[in-house]
């Protein structure tokens, strides 16, 4: 990453790259696009057999994998489409409303 596009929300017309081009690859990692999710997948580690079928099907590369093992969901990019829940053969993923999940998160944090 060498292209500095910090503060791009304030760029004026003459600061934007020609034709609104993006001047390097992989910039999507810097954009947290999961904030409009309505439901989120919850991973149940006790049921997971590490088959990685969820990882193969996720359309947004939001199944986190470390050392060839599923290790969680990237909620900064997951859109909550639920595909992983549908394809999991072991019911190791289930959907929860984003509102409930956030309330739960807050409780745990407190």
């Amino acid at each position: 990453m060498s292209w500095d596009y910090s503060g791009n929300e304030q760029w004026t017309w003459d600061q934007i790259p020609l034709g609104a081009m993006t001047l390097e690859g992989g910039t999507a990692t810097g954009h947290k696009t999961g904030d409009w999710r309505v439901q989120r997948p919850i991973w149940h580690t006790d049921k997971c057999k590490q088959c990685l079928i969820c990882w193969m099907h996720c359309p947004d590369s939001s199944i986190k994998v470390s050392e060839q093992k599923m290790c969680g969901v990237d909620y900064e990019h997951c859109k909550g489409c639920g595909v992983c829940v549908q394809v999991c053969p072991f019911n190791a993923l289930s959907m929860m409303s984003e509102k409930d999940a956030r309330e739960l998160d807050e409780k745990e944090a407190n």
């Binding site: 004026t12 003459d14 934007i16 609104a20 993006t22 001047l23 390097e24």
Partner: protein, 397 residues
Amino acid sequence: MPDVTVLASSGDQMVAEAFRQANPDVLPVYPITPQTIIVEEFDKFVAQGKVHTEFVPVESEHSAMAAAIGASAAGARTVTATASQGLAYMWEELYVAAGMRLPIVMANANRALSAPINIHGDHSDIMGCRDTGWIMYFAENAQEAYDDTLMAFRVAEHPDVMLPVATTLDGFITSHALERCELLDDETVAAFVGEYKPERSLLDTDNPNSFGMFANLGNFYMETKLAMRKAMEGSLDIIKSVGKEFEAVSGRPFEVVKTYGTEDAERVIVVMGSSIGNVRHVAKQLRAKGEKVGVVGLRVFRPFPSNELVAALKDAKAIAVMDRCETVGGQGGPLWQETAAALQSVGITTPTRDYMYGLGGADVTVQLIEEIFEDLKTLEADKAAGKVADVTYKGNR
């Protein structure tokens, strides 16, 4: 001095020669009357090995422009040609090409749009392009079609412009009729056109980048459009300087607004494309009889050369604008709208009248043009008396 070959050539053939000499990297195209000769001739050049071009015979004009966009984004000098329904079919892609700031050069053989189906010359098709962000040249004859096409590469690929350019020639009148034309030698043209070296391209894997990004709700969509407007406005000076450079090479004068007799003319006709010559012919005859008439012909419509047009019209007493494109339900044709706005913006209140003529290739006769000049004699009084419609058809039954 360049070697010049004098040919009896159609406008389409001259455009094909210009494409050959510019030696584009990619030419995706779909044939449609009256542009077909361009495709046929260029295909011959490909078969004869005279160009290094990747010739892509696509299945539609929508695909032609889509392929052109991809090729241009990949960093290729990209060219295409179309007409009429073909241009209409490209329409959404035209905005993409301009918005992505791709310097594609496209020739359009101006033709009517269906229905009723009609293959002949008017400006209905090309005026669908007027708000897309494409620079637009209008050739008066086959020679200008060649010249404009060569200049188009320099303008489109100029780092301060980077907008697609449409060079247009009137269907059949210019695209097919044979005229005396001058072809410059290949070396001279190669030196004039130069090589296209894009600053960024999709195939530049050392500097990866993405074209055509998402710019949602307030996320620099307006800013991108403003950047296009600025580039388009600034392109007029570049069009002129490239024109002057070409003038030095070819010996043919280049003006974005061509005038005849306007230094003392009281009655002036504003017109574009092949009809400029017809109107000039009539004006010459009338001036020989002592009538103070003049002609203003636009060679460039986008960017609209407002200041140049106003300078040419400021002393006129009555102005006719000849439009070869209906804007059914509009105040007038595209050329009249622009002309009226240009005059109004500097407070000139000279009476104007819009004439709809030559639609679907309807005859543009000496008599028709004489009638328009004649109408202008009483335009002010007729307008005051409410006797004049804003849009007047000429040459219809």
